[in-house]
Structure formats: structure tokens, C-alpha cells
Amino acid sequence: MERADREGRGLSDLRDLIDASCPGAVVDEIESHGELTIEIARERLLEVARFLAAPPAAFRLLSDVACADFPDEPGRFRLAYQLYSLDSGARVRLRVWAGADDPEVDSVVPVWPTANWHEREVYDLMGVRFRGHPDLARIAMPDDWEGHPLRKDYPLGGEEVTFTDAV
């Protein structure tokens, strides 16, 4: 199928492209389940983002910013930026560890304006702050809510039920 191999070919040399333009930014590269994940150092995120959004790689669509909480990892909050290129149809995932005590990452809103609400949601539910974000307020929870619900150490809450199937 024509698109699949172009996707495959397009991805493998992506890491060399990034290495060429921003040396030392790429920490790791994982290829699994037909997807490519490139791990970037926390400080170089904005630089790599600007490069990827520009014509050679042309990942003009930032599909999603998701964050997973790994309490026992040094970087703790693992951010995943899903990028999609409208021209080549290639997908890549940028992975950034946001650090445990005061998780802070550069905001990519200057590069992709759609990140505005994604980052607000990650800040609201996970507590990762984004430097340079135009309007970092809570988006899902009431504004005076204490704590960040999606963190692993935050109880599920809700009413106590005598029989529960929580396996």
C-alpha cells in the first residue's frame, strides 16, 4: 500500500533530520506498534517543535497533547505530543518528561495555536505548568478546585459503595 511504506520511509530518517538541525535534542527513539516516538530533552521542546512544523517535515497538525503520570520515574509527568503531517500523512509522537517536583515545560502555543486548550487541560488535570502559555487557567474543574485529579496519588473520590468491583 503506497501510503504505508511512504509513511515508513518518511519516518526513519526523521530522527536524522532533527539531529541535523537541533543537535543533542533527541534523547531516544522508539518504534513500536507501527508508531515512532521521539524523546526530546525538556529544554529543547520548543526548538524541535518549530523545526517540525516548518516545511521539510511539515507536521502542521498537532493532534493531541496527553500526559501520563509515572510517580516512580525521575521525570514523573510524561507528555506526548501527537503530530500529523497533512501532506505526507505521517504521524510522530514527541515524548517529553516534565520533571517531578515543579513540572514545567515550554508552551508550544506559538507554534501550534491548538495547544492552548490541550495544555490548559494538562495543567488542570495533571498540574504541569507551561511557560509562555497565554492563558493558563483551569478548564475542566471548578476554578477553586484543590489539587489535580488525574495524578496517580489523587483518590478516585465519589461515594463509598459497600460492594465494589474494583478488582
Partner: protein
């Protein structure tokens, strides 16, 4: 790490603001008052017949149940047969608040505010499992049952309930209003406590 809070942690109920219009179902004096049965004057009979045959719902569309509530006014089920097809947007012109959908913690004060702004006599139908008891979602974000915020008259089960069961809920409410001179739970309470001079 305890994801479910240990047993015995108090279930915090949303603060009830307007104590005066509140009425708790477990109130003993009221129970025997209902048993004694209020003798209906003809005016009350006519007014409750009029109220029950034209209940205008304030479409409080929250989530999936709202879509099924919309089906209620469409050609197949057609709530117009019961005079309730006029879904009013503002609480000033509606008698019945159909809470259709899950009530989140951020929405609870707004729901209570709108309930307070509805004009008496007013009733509440809690449509669907999420409104009645939190449904499949038992977590930090939802109020586990809208009866923590507003006194509810009819609970309609289902997730989402079929439009037909919502129509049955409205028919139950009509029975509750039309028969035996009981208008709404609040009218009973006020009549009993003598607060209501007129």
C-alpha cells in the same frame, strides 16, 4: 495507594442554600400530614387539574439524556398529547425542571441557582441514572444524584431512558399533581407549616 477513600469518610453533600424552600423526605410531621389528607377545595382541584395538564418543562439538557429528551417532542413519541411539548428555555416560564444528564460539581451551583429562580409551583424530574444516582460514574467529578441539590419529584430510570419511559415519568407526575390535592412537595410543606397565607 488508596484510590477509593477509606470507608467511613463522610459523604459531603452540596450545601443547600435556600433552607426555607427545602424539604427533606424523611420529615416525620409531614408524613402523618399526608396521611390525614388535605380536603381539596374546588379551586385547588381546578388549579391542580390545570397545572397537571400543561406542564411546561425547562429543558435542562446536560448530556446523553438530553438527546433522548429531544426525541420526546418528535413525531414518533410526541409529548404534545400531554401538553408538555413546549420546552421553555427560561426558568421563569416553566413549571418542571427535567434534569437530563450527569450533574458535575461545576454545574451543581448553576443548577441550584436556576431551580431557585423557577416560579412556584415547580417540580423536578431526575431523568436517567446519572441524574438520579451518579449512574456508572462514581468519581470526584459528579454529584452522586441530583437530589443532593434539589428536591426531586419523579425519578426516571435508564441510561439513557427511552423517550417512552420519560413520557411515563411525566404521566406519573401528572398523577401526583392532579389527584388528592397534592400539588408539589413544597406546597404541602408550606401548607403544613402555615407559612403560606394565601
Amino acid at each position: 495507594m488508596a484510590l477509593i477513600p477509606p470507608p467511613g469518610t463522610p459523604i459531603e453533600r452540596a450545601p443547600r442554600t435556600d433552607q426555607s424552600v427545602d424539604w427533606d423526605l424523611k420529615d416525620p410531621e409531614l408524613a402523618d400530614f399526608v396521611k390525614r389528607g388535605l380536603l381539596m377545595t374546588t379551586v385547588d382541584k381546578i388549579s391542580s387539574w390545570a397545572q397537571s395538564s400543561a406542564i411546561w418543562p425547562a429543558g435542562f439538557g446536560l448530556a446523553c439524556c438530553a438527546i433522548e429528551m429531544m426525541h420526546m417532542v418528535t413525531p414518533r413519541i410526541d409529548i404534545a398529547r400531554f401538553g408538555a411539548e413546549l420546552i421553555r428555555a427560561s426558568p421563569r416560564q416553566s413549571d418542571l425542571m427535567i434534569v437530563s444528564g450527569r450533574v458535575s460539581q461545576k454545574m451543581a451551583p448553576v443548577l441550584r441557582h436556576i431551580y431557585d429562580q423557577m416560579l412556584e409551583p415547580k417540580w423536578v424530574i431526575s431523568m436517567g441514572a446519572c441524574a438520579s444516582s451518579g449512574g456508572v460514574f462514581n468519581n470526584y467529578a459528579l454529584v452522586q444524584g441530583v437530589d443532593k441539590i434539589v428536591p426531586v419529584d419523579v425519578y426516571v430510570p435508564g441510561c439513557p431512558p427511552r423517550p417512552e419511559s420519560l413520557v411515563e415519568g411525566i404521566m406519573l407526575l401528572q398523577k401526583k399533581i392532579g389527584s388528592g390535592g397534592q400539588s408539589s412537595s413544597r406546597e404541602l410543606w408550606n401548607a403544613q407549616t402555615g407559612k403560606d397565607a394565601a
